[in-house]
């Protein structure tokens, strides 16, 4: 019998089974479109009569807007509409108002690149020329871009008079969030230690660095109905925000997600979409907006930069007795929760009797941060894993042994509150220890780095529909943009559950009017949550098909089972009938009651946390501080790898983003508060020749919360590289590195300073 989904059932989803489709490596369904140039991305859409809009952005890091005069632009031939913050609806939620104020500055500009006015014209050239005719009078204010400096009483205040919840006394007005986690007696814990190391670390802000700039096309007729085509991680999020900002109802706005050229969290919010919609409303014409690369860097969200103090005590045999971290993050000019996530994840890999983390979010004159792959965790875990490494080094202990000795496992009270269920950290550490990489010899100027990593993984609101076509094929309709191959894994789970060949299934990502609500593609949730809903939708369809077979056979529906893609009687008592295939049931569906479909809607839970361990060998040139990655191996618990190729891909891609963060990527601001490296030339993401092959070892410790045992895999991979590379470099260079990126000038200065 098909297992019914029971509301509120906890941890009871997973059933061990043999898979036919899941775990294989078929070609992805959208692959041919993407190798032939047919796939349509954000900037590839056009509409008849389309206008092009561009944005006037602040040249100042912090200024009051005294006045805006757009008359010159409006008078220009070819200019069809101009919008400012006055063209948008005031929001009741502070979070939404912040997002809107980031899309279009209201009263004040908070950072270099902050949008002020948008102009729609018959060409980009005319729109840009019109921007030059707009007169903005600024009252320039002092600015601050550094997190520690912004916490000082002398720092300029960004949001005068705004009160933030739960901020302890003694913090200045730029502190917009404060959080504390942990358990146990810290004094007692540190007293038990044979050695205590306390260090301070800094990490620079990095950008998600998706290769596709933000792009959107919006239309809106005089009837007040709009459409948006956009590269986004969530069409429903775009619909809800853009409709609210422009003041129309959700039902009147249909949003279609294009193929998306990378997101990594950076496309989980809006920048251009409400602006394009407002311009379309005003002009009555379709409006296209595409960011330049410079705009992407200056005005779309990088992640936070951080400044952290860590203190860890250890006994001489390697037991951690206490861990403490104070994390100060800045994520630009508006509140965010990234520091909180840092504080929750910092010590998550460890089973600790005494642990305490405190986190502050501080407002600065930088762009509003956006989520970036396991937001908050990489920089927090970097600091903890660096100190653990140094403790091992000082005590002459093996870093993997020490991690095994202290590893969180089932029953461990986590550093952020709940007790862990089945988790894969020990298995992952053991796999790393047993791997040939860990025993391989190192050459001169080389060092080996190790780090653990953790991410929660999330689930959330999900809707899936499944139509059984009369020819025996299946259409799966889901609502989450496919960033890294999710249509493949969703199709595979549908085929698995239905018991039919994969080629019979086609999965599409539907627009906001064609499927129920879905949270954005974030939190490593899609293969887990959409997969779960797909399996449940398949089960609903199967139930329907079993009912049809029962009616045809004249037996009870309860007496029909679904085996290998066909209805069969549950046993001889039920009757003696040959299996009735999905194709047969589908072909007769008109005669047996009409079309067959299944659907499932849920706010899913039970995503299942995931751990990873990374090993890296680096070589540091002692004369230049240049770091070469010689060898890299990723070990990660995937719960169950639906399509192993794309699980490996997530692990490899996350590792390389983390390597970039560790070595060269950073937002560089001048004294004037302006971003100095708003391009791929000087914002240096890793290139092919910087890297070796990235070996990926998948572990499968089933997640009890998913029918197939799936855990999210997208984010964890970016967490360990920062510390793994930093530990490797510290060993190779013979000096402990405490600031990211470890760019060559920084490494060389450290080497020379240590002499």
């Amino acid at each position: 019998m098909v297992t019914e989904y029971k509301e509120g059932s906890v941890g009871a989803e997973f059933n061990k089974r043999e898979f036919k489709v899941v775990g294989t490596r078929p070609p992805r369904p959208d692959g041919v479109d993407k190798v032939t140039g047919r796939a349509l991305f954000g900037a590839d859409f056009t509409a008849p009569g389309m206008l092009h809009a561009t944005v006037l952005r602040s040249p100042h890091a912090h200024a009051r807007i005294v006045s805006i005069d757009t008359s010159g632009a409006l008078a220009m031939d070819g200019v069809k509409a101009v919008v400012t913050s006055e063209d948008f609806v005031k929001q009741t939620s502070s979070g939404n108002q912040d997002t809107l104020d980031n899309c279009m500055a209201r009263g004040k500009v908070f950072y270099d690149g902050h949008a002020i006015v948008a102009v729609a014209a018959t060409s980009v050239k005319i729109a840009n020329a019109a921007l030059k005719l707009i007169k903005v009078e600024y009252e320039i204010l002092p600015h601050e871009t550094d997190v520690d400096a912004a916490m000082l009483d002398s720092a300029p205040v960004l949001h005068e008079g705004r009160k933030f919840r739960n901020i302890p006394e003694g913090n200045n007005a730029n502190v917009s969030g404060y959080w504390e986690f942990g358990h146990g007696d810290m004094d007692e814990g540190f007293a038990k230690a044979d050695i205590v190391i306390e260090r301070s670390f800094k990490t620079a802000a990095t950008h998600q660095g998706y290769i596709e700039p933000h792009a959107t096309l919006a239309t809106m007729g005089p009837d007040g109905r709009g459409e948006i085509w956009v590269c986004t991680q969530g069409q429903f999020m775009v619909r809800d925000l853009a409709a609210a900002f422009v003041g129309i109802e959700a039902s009147q706005l249909r949003v279609t997600a294009s193929e998306i050229g990378g997101g990594f969290g950076g496309k989980t919010t809006v920048y251009l979409e409400p602006v394009a919609l407002a311009l379309a409303k005003k002009s009555g014409r379709p409006v296209k907006m595409v960011m330049t690369r410079e705009e992407v860097f200056r005005a779309s969200g990088p992640t936070t930069s951080s400044s952290t103090d860590v203190k860890i005590g250890m006994t001489k045999d390697g037991r951690i007795t206490a861990g403490q971290a104070k994390l100060r993050y800045q994520g630009g000019a508006f509140p965010n929760i990234t520091a909180m996530l840092g504080a929750m994840t910092a010590f998550a890999s460890y089973d600790l009797e005494a642990v305490q983390t405190q986190a502050w979010n501080v407002l600065t004159n930088r762009p509003k941060q956006a989520a970036y792959r396991a937001p908050g965790a990489p920089m927090a875990i970097y600091t903890v894993e660096s100190v653990v490494d140094e403790l091992c080094q000082k005590l002459g202990l093996d870093p993997l042994e020490v991690r095994l000795l202290n590893a969180a496992k089932k029953g461990t009270l986590s550093s952020y509150g709940p007790t862990f269920d089945e988790i894969g950290l020990v298995a992952t550490l053991e796999a790393a220890k047993a791997h040939p990489h860990y025993a391989a010899p190192l050459g001169p100027n080389q060092g080996r780095g190790v780090s653990c990593g953790f991410w929660f993984n999330f689930a959330g609101n999900t809707s899936v529909s499944m139509n059984i076509n009369e020819d025996g094929t299946v259409a799966v309709i889901e609502g989450n943009p496919d960033i890294g191959g999710s249509r493949a894994s969703i199709s595979m789970m549908a085929a698995e559950e239905l018991g039919i060949p994969l080629e019979k299934v086609r999965t599409i990502v539907a627009d906001t009017n064609a499927i129920g609500f879905n949270d954005v593609t974030d939190g490593s949730r899609v293969t887990f949550a959409v997969g779960l809903a797909t399996i449940k939708a398949a089960r609903a369809a199967i139930q329907n098909m079993c009912g049809r077979a029962a009616q045809i056979w004249g037996i009870d529906a309860d007496a029909v089972d679904w085996v290998d893609g066909a209805a069969v009687p549950t046993g001889h008592n039920a009757g003696d009938f040959p299996p009735m295939s999905l194709a047969k049931i589908a072909a007769d569906s008109a005669k047996t009651g009409g079309p067959i479909a299944g659907h499932f809607e849920v706010n899913a839970d039970g995503a299942g946390v995931s751990f990873g361990v990374h090993l890296v060998d680096v070589e540091v040139d002692p004369e230049t501080g240049f770091t070469e990655i010689k060898r890299y191996t990723v070990f990660q618990d995937a719960g169950k790898a639906i399509h192993p190729d794309y699980v490996e891909g997530q692990m490899q891609g996350g590792a390389v983003q983390g390597i970039g963060w560790a070595l060269n990527e950073e937002y560089i601001y001048g004294e004037d508060g302006k971003l100095q490296n708003a391009g791929f030339l000087d914002y240096r993401i890793p290139v092919a020749s910087d890297l070796p092959m990235i070996d990926a070892v998948i572990l499968e410790i089933p997640n009890p919360g998913h029918p197939y045992g799936v855990r999210g895999v997208g984010e964890t991979g970016i967490v360990p590289p920062l510390a793994a590379v930093a530990n490797g470099v510290s060993h190779a260079a013979g000096v402990r590195m405490t600031e990211l990126p470890m760019s060559p000038p920084r490494i060389l200065a450290a080497i020379d300073g240590a002499k």
């Binding site: 190798v35 032939t36 900037a43 290769i211 596709e212 690369r293 891909g649 983003q657 791929f680 092919a688």
Partner: protein
């Protein structure tokens, strides 16, 4: 300002277009010719997403003026497959799962094809350096490099 008339050959087809003097070949391919396979990732020659072959030479189409294409041949990702048959490189990228989001894929294909035409038996290091101007943020390059090496082997008949 009058537009410039350009006669060129794109993927083997004779194409004529009118362009502004400052328009790039990438702009014209995408906005006037209707070939959106080449992507703009940066507009400054740093990402390679707009790669095309110009008279057989690998270039960034964002760094070529559309007017310069007069009398030349242009090859884009749309011209790599022959009818229904994918090129070996296209098939190998699919087989090796060498794309995630796919935005860099057209540029990777054009660049790798140019490499294998010049050097049918490249080492891993040669492939990595040749493709250094094709940024990929999703894959960490591993599967891309494997796919190109495998395609090279197959094209050599190895």
């Amino acid at each position: 300002m009058s537009k410039i008339h350009v006669s060129t050959s794109i993927n083997g087809d004779a194409v004529e277009y009118l362009c502004e003097p400052e328009e790039t070949l990438l702009d014209v391919l995408r906005n006037r010719v209707g070939l959106t396979g080449a992507k703009e990732g940066c507009g400054s020659g740093d990402c390679g997403a707009c790669s095309v072959a110009l008279d057989g030479r690998l270039v960034c189409s964002c760094l070529v003026l559309a007017a310069e294409a007069e009398g030349k041949t242009v090859s884009t990702v749309e011209g790599i497959a022959e009818g229904e048959n994918l090129h070996v490189l296209q098939q190998k990228l699919l087989d090796h799962a060498a794309l995630q989001c796919g935005i860099c894929t057209p540029g990777i294909l054009i660049a790798s094809k140019a490499l294998l035409e010049k050097n049918p038996d490249p080492t891993e290091t040669e492939v990595r350096y040749w493709l250094a101007g094709n940024l990929c943020r999703c894959t960490g390059y591993d599967k891309i490099i494997r796919a190109v090496m495998d395609a090279a082997a197959e094209m050599r008949g190895a």
